[in-house]
């Protein structure tokens, strides 16, 4: 240290502590095999989602929903023309699979984002205000938490008929916030007692300002962690709904592909059709899950294995 001071090396510009921390976290994250595998898988899926627009451009018969190969018109095994074969109507399975990736990402990320936003708001308000607000919100969250989301959404489908994809996303978001809210509430409660919150209050900051400027930045990393787990949940619920035949009829999702192979009785004859969608759902949820666990270790230094 002192030697460095004596030599007249131009001192590097002071680095942003946030960036420093991020880089630090990234290093820990990167060393984690779970995180690395999860990230690689995720990139593969992201590429698949982006590529999904390509097949219909090559030939309309590759459109996942409306494109039917006039020469096939039925389920066929993989070939040069259809790398993963065709479904019962002669539609290309690979294009369906790619389109399904896009839907899965969309559903997963948007539902997770909304449920996290809701959960963070409820958690912060509940923890910060306390009193009756807290009691009522937490009771509500307890009730919603024990409800099986899939069956609740199913019940809503019974009432309102077939649900559009965005309604499904909204429903998933609405029923998946309590877990996050409870964690954020606990975090807020512990932050509330810290001196810097008192200091802000003494300095005359409004409640809104304290919540958004002082508490929120501190709970966001945790919220982000929960988001990866919520993505997993949302993807699975949407896929399960579609599998049961309650998906949005206007989209092609992996769950729907599985429903088709199951309902049209092709599962014993067409493994090329049965295997890919399920494998994709499982791998995508696995990658988000691994990402979450790796982030968990980054955010919680207690979990870090010192001896390794």
């Amino acid at each position: 240290m002192s030697a460095k001071d004596q030599i007249t090396v131009p001192t590097p510009p002071r680095r942003n502590p946030w960036r420093e921390r991020l880089l630090d976290n990234w290093r820990v994250f990167h060393q984690n095999p779970l995180g690395r595998i999860g990230l690689i898988l995720l990139v593969v899926f992201a590429v698949m989602a982006m590529v999904s627009v390509v097949p219909p451009l090559i030939d309309p018969m590759y459109h996942p929903m409306t494109g039917v190969d006039p020469e096939v018109m039925q389920s066929s095994a993989p070939s040069w023309r259809h790398w993963l074969g065709t479904d019962f109507m002669g539609r290309d399975i690979l294009s369906q699979l790619l389109a399904g990736t896009r839907v899965a990402f969309m559903v997963g990320v948007s539902a997770a984002f909304m449920s996290i936003a809701l959960g963070v708001s409820v958690g912060m308000v509940s923890g910060y205000l306390g009193g009756w607000t807290d009691i009522i919100l937490m009771r509500l969250s307890e009730i919603i938490m024990v409800m099986p989301t899939l069956l609740v959404v199913l019940m809503l489908a019974a009432l309102f008929g077939k649900l559009g994809i965005w309604t499904i996303v909204l429903m998933i978001a609405f029923f998946r916030w309590p877990g996050v809210a409870r964690v954020i509430r606990a975090q807020t409660l512990s932050l509330k007692g810290r001196p810097f919150i008192d200091a802000a209050r003494v300095a005359g900051a409004s409640h809104t300002r304290i919540v958004f400027r002082h508490i929120m930045p501190n709970v966001l990393p945790l919220a982000f962690l929960y988001m990866t787990f919520r993505v997993t949940g949302a993807i699975i619920i949407e896929a399960a709904l579609a599998f049961l035949g309650f998906g949005d009829p206007g989209t092609v999702s992996w769950g729907m592909m599985l429903q088709w192979v199951w309902k049209t009785g092709h599962m014993f004859q067409a493994p090329w059709w049965l295997l890919p969608p399920g494998l994709c759902i499982s791998l995508l949820t696995l990658s988000f899950y691994m990402l979450g666990r790796a982030m968990d270790e980054v955010l919680d230094p207690r979990l870090r294995d010192q001896s390794r």
Partner: protein, 323 residues
Amino acid sequence: MTRYVINRLVQIVVILFMILTILFVLFRLAPGDPVARMVDPNMTPEDAARLIAQLGLDLPIWRQYLTYLGNCLTGNFGHSFHYGLPVLEIIGQRLPNTILLFSTGVLLSAVAGIAWGKLAAWNKGKATDLWLTVASLITHTLFLPWLALLLIWVFGYKLDWFPINGMISDEVWLDPDSGVLLKAWDVAYHMILPLGTLFIMHFGAYLLVMRSSMLETLKEDYIITARAKGLTEKAIRNHHAAPNAWLPVVTSVGLSLAFSINGGALTETVFSWPGIGRELVFAVSQNDYPLAQASFLLVASVVLISNLVVDVLYAYLDPRIRY
């Protein structure tokens, strides 16, 4: 303890009442004629009129609500369109099947998850640990219906080892000579694949929780005490570490019950297991609203009561908790 259980039961009743109210409101808000949703179109006009009167659908809205609550309280959920039978009768038949499959599945996977999690933590960093952890990570995130279809494809179709749907075989149950044992065996035989599905899906979560909880517990001071007392490693693991480590697992069983019951419904549907979950899915797809509503209420009650059971079990395992 008794007071606590009574308290919780009252809470459960309140929650069910809230669910009923929400369903009532949504039912009126939903597009379409409420009468058409509750009354089977195939009924004779007289029967329909009687049912409408019974359900109070011709009354002002608040009297409808009271009639509805009264009907639900007395178990009168209306007639199923599809079966043409009182709903209560149908779900009464389905409930034991669901409880049999679901509780066996949760119990088996929890027991195995705890045992293997213990093993993984005890062998931390070794091959056993690695394999168990990786296996549970992968199985835990499988898509359940897909797993079920794969099991059917491999073990039911290719290998032809197990029946792929239903709960009983007619030739066994219609034969007056089959004894109870044979019938039980028949059910167990049908249950293997659905149970396997639930098991593969669920043991991983419990294993991972047990593993990390066990690792935390092994750092506690009473483990050093146990070691100082000269206990064998096995005694330390089974009598001191494990009984403390499985407390968080019990909590996680409680928290994941809702998730498990989703899986239960999917499993029942794929394997045509005659349970409440499959009935709910079926009723929704058939627009059989009375049946769907009753099935849903029953599933909700099952979840709420299972949660209570888990909390009581926790209190039993942890002497520090006294309600």
